[in-house]
């Protein structure tokens, strides 16, 4: 039974560090926030839950002053925010609001130190004090266990390292409210632990934390209470300890969730991809494995283990040093990306926004771009065929979209991801290399993506599934390989994919 925390929530006793009263925010065509009231107290770690597009990030943008509500008030530390534009954001900042946005908000060309103090660089007589800045930056990073030179440019960091730098940034100064919008979505388990440790430390200092995540196990670890949002409304605030996951999910979805079942695997023999001795300095030393037809092969590993590089090397978008790649038993030597596509391969990148979608174009064009010929007649695109092909993909992958030509940028992350996978279904690819296909995707969409992957495998396609969320591997994979120290170290077969064992294999030796 869910024990409602509303009583405490509505207690007007001051102490709330931040409060939203009856806030409404519309975007063109969407009611992103619907008469929402929300408050959080010092020292509290509050989780914010909801499906993609529920309005979590919008609520955050109200608190940080990045946007002005259409109606309602926002107060920080008992004072209502006023003004608009950068003045409002500045006001919230001065009152102690710090935030890690969902979108990357670092400047790639600048150093780590400069990014940590972005816009608030320490000055001495009007002149930037680089020495002081770097010293403070080093301290801040050490608190997170990071040891990169603060003068390094952010451009050279991996996405995960960038995320950690963003988190280090919010710990600077004297924050009163720290907001983390999906801080761990690009992190593997071990790094996520680091973040969680840091969050606990912040909360222990009496700082309020709002924590958004689609990962329930993280929420359970750090949050006492969780506010659930749906369709721009605050549905309820619950005690995390007293609520079981299924009920929370039911609150999020407004209906019962389908439970993903564990994988039933069967013996397969036809090898479609055979990698041996693949090396790519400095990440991959000697990687060898086989992928069989109809198989979903999971690849686990720590952040930076080189899983992305492995997929990119196979697809020919990144040159490798040595090794052989055999497709259907023939050595293809140096693969080129488009040649691999012609061999029936398909690849979805790990950063959906930056590399996956063309936001201004419709779902239809994002889908058929992989194979225009299939929807053309004598070289001319057929609107009817495009619509048919798109509707086919929409139906098979359960994409939620109003029309086939809705700009994909307006879809939720999960639905964008389905289209990115669906375009390879359209292209008729038989080997799919999926890099973090569930990143930033809500519970419901995740379950659907698992089902889609299983279905694709059942149709005889082969899938390589890279994920940093170890708990989802048993739900999708026939087999899991662990990439560590540049080699594939251990193998787990369904149904014996044990999360703890996989985790242990990932971090063995550290």
């Amino acid at each position: 039974m869910i024990q409602s925390a509303n009583a405490r929530q509505n207690d007007p006793v001051g102490g709330a560090i931040a409060a939203l009263e009856g806030c409404t925010k519309r975007y063109p065509g969407v009611l992103a926030l619907d008469n929402a009231s929300f408050r959080v107290a010092p020292g509290e770690v509050r989780a914010l839950l909801g499906k993609n597009g529920a309005g979590k990030s919008t609520l955050i943008r109200m608190l940080t002053g990045a946007e002005v509500p259409d109606s309602g008030t926002v107060s920080i530390d008992g004072v209502a925010l006023s003004g608009s534009g950068s003045a409002r954001a500045q006001e919230a900042f001065v009152r102690g609001v710090r935030v890690v946005y969902q979108e990357l908000s670092l400047v790639p060309g600048m150093s780590i130190a400069e990014n940590l103090f972005l816009g608030r660089w320490p000055r001495r007589a009007g002149i930037l004090d680089y020495a002081g800045m770097e010293a403070e930056a080093r301290d801040a990073m050490q608190r997170l266990g990071l040891d990169m030179p603060p003068s390094d440019p952010v451009a050279g960091l991996s996405p995960a390292e960038r995320q950690l730098v963003e988190i280090a940034r919010v710990l600077l100064g004297k924050p009163k409210l720290v907001i983390l919008d999906e801080p761990t979505s690009s992190l593997a388990a071990a790094e996520a632990e680091k973040v969680m440790a840091a969050v606990k430390r912040i909360a222990a200092d009496g700082i309020a934390v709002i924590y958004i995540s689609h990962r329930m196990n993280e929420i359970r670890q750090i949050a006492r209470s969780a506010t659930v949002m749906r369709d721009g409304r605050i549905i309820d605030t619950v005690d995390v300890a007293g609520a079981d996951t299924r009920e929370i999910v039911r609150l999020m979805l407004g209906s019962e969730a389908a439970q993903a079942a564990a994988v039933e695997t069967k013996a397969r023999d036809k090898v479609v991809l055979d990698i041996s001795g693949l090396a790519l300095a400095p990440k991959l030393a000697c990687v060898s494995f086989q992928l069989r037809q109809g198989e979903v092969l999971g690849i686990a590993g720590l952040l930076g283990a080189g899983r992305t590089e492995l997929l990119q090397a196979i697809m020919g978008v990144r040159a490798y040093d040595s090794g052989t790649i055999c497709v259907d038993g023939t050595d293809i030597r140096r693969p080129g990306y488009r040649a691999m596509l012609n061999r029936g391969f398909g690849y979805t990148p790990e950063s959906r926004k930056e590399e996956g979608i063309v936001p201004l174009l419709g779902v239809d064009e994002n889908t058929v771009a992989t194979d225009f010929a299939a929807v053309s007649r004598r070289g001319i695109l057929s609107a009817r065929r495009i619509a048919e092909a798109t509707r086919d993909v929409i139906a098979r992958l359960h994409v939620k979209t109003a029309a086939t030509d809705t700009p994909i940028g307006t879809l939720s992350g999960g639905n964008q991801q389905k289209v990115v996978i669906g375009r390879w279904v359209h292209a008729g690819s038989r080997v799919l290399l999926l890099d973090e296909p569930t990143r930033g995707v809500d519970v419901e969409a995740k379950a659907q993506i698992y089902a889609i992957i299983r279905q694709l495998a059942a149709e005889g396609r082969s899938v390589i599934f890279v994920s940093s969320e170890i708990e989802e591997l048993p739900l999708v994979c026939d087999r899991v390989l662990v990439l560590r120290e540049g080699r594939l170290m251990e193998e787990f077969k369904s149904p014996n994919i044990d999360q703890d064992a996989v985790m242990a294999a990932c971090i063995a030796g550290h």
């Binding site: 969407v30 996956g356 809705t406």
Partner: protein
């Protein structure tokens, strides 16, 4: 999963918003053109005469033919500032070819090939060597104008009597061939941009080149093709210029690149890429041409005409942007 639900969860305004803002752009341009017509008809003597309307079409052809290709280039996120010198260079090269006795149709074909080859230099520099297209075409701009002037000493290269060339300048049922060619090419480009894999790939590349590449679009090849097409269109303009002037002129078409870019931008194509339409550019070309023609007819001081043109470009773009914003806002309310 029922369709009902699918419909409900989507930000419902989105698709209509897209249609609406496109609408806004073209409607506001259309209104601008109507206003210009009304103003010039009442104030400028001879504006509505058949002859003058034909002149407008002919002038539009000079900007238009280059602007169709420039629209695709700008949609793909690139820019081409080499149009003017390219047109002049081709007119000179073609005049020499004809002087040397190359048969006229063959000379035309060669001119178009030369244009495409020169254009693709900028394309190759962009696609394979990461030289920004602004830099590559700026280099062409300087080099082509210089070469044309150098070859001719700034003197026109006469071609003497040439029936085929003359024919290109003789109106057909009152309509100059340049205008007909412009309209045919418009239809071709409008079709290509909307109905072919090439056209849609251009939009995809402009919207997110990385995603386009990963979807299997041959980004490099399309970039080269785009600049080759732009070169070929400049060559067509060069051929028409030769037929109009009866000689190849190294100093001709100066500043044409500004008019072309202005027309495309006024037409609502975003310089940041990924967004734009041929119809918008057609309307943009008309706006720019009408203003040029009307101001001359009104006898405005030629220097002051420059001031007016500058203001109108800015105002047109500003109005367009505001209209789109307001359209979006109204949709929201």
């Amino acid at each position: 999963m029922s369709n009902d639900q699918a419909v409900r969860t989507v930000p419902s305004g989105a698709p209509r918003r897209r249609g609406f803002s496109q609408h806004m752009n073209e409607i506001s341009l259309f209104v601008a053109i109507v206003v210009l017509y009304v103003v010039f008809t009442t104030t400028a003597n001879g504006f509505m005469s058949f002859n003058n309307q034909i002149n407008i079409l002919r002038d539009a052809a000079t900007i238009g033919i280059a602007a169709w290709a420039a629209t695709l280039i700008i949609i793909s996120g690139e820019i081409d500032v080499s149009v003017g010198p390219m047109v002049a260079f081709i007119s000179v090269a073609l005049a020499y070819l004809l002087q040397w006795g190359v048969p006229t149709p063959l000379a035309f074909v060669l001119a178009i090939i030369i244009g495409a080859a020169l254009g693709s230099i900028a394309g190759i520099l962009r696609a394979y060597f990461d030289v920004p297209s602004f830099v590559g075409t700026l280099g062409l701009w300087s080099a082509l104008r210089g070469t044309a002037l150098f070859m001719t000493d700034a003197l026109p290269v006469s071609i003497g009597r040439n029936d085929i060339v003359d024919m290109l300048d003789r109106p057909v049922l009152g309509v100059p061939p340049a205008a007909i060619i412009m309209l045919i090419l418009f239809a071709v480009f409008a079709f290509v941009s909307r109905k072919t894999a090439f056209g849609r790939s251009v939009y995809a590349i402009g919207g997110n080149p990385q995603a386009a590449f990963l979807s299997g679009i041959n980004v490099a090849r399309i970039r080269v093709q785009l600049f080759a097409i732009a070169g070929a269109m400049a060559a067509v303009s060069g051929i028409l210029l030769l037929s109009r002037l009866g000689s190849g002129n190294a100093t001709a078409a100066s500043g044409l690149e500004f008019d072309v870019i202005a027309a495309v931008v006024v037409g609502g194509t975003a310089l940041s890429g990924g967004r734009g339409s041929m119809l918008g550019t057609l309307l943009g070309v008309l706006v720019i041409t009408l203003i040029g023609n009307g101001l001359v007819l009104l006898g405005i001081n030629p220097f002051f005409q420059q001031v007016v043109r500058g203001l109108i470009i800015v105002v047109a773009v500003l109005a367009n942007i505001q209209a789109i914003k307001r359209g979006a806002a109204r949709n929201k309310g």
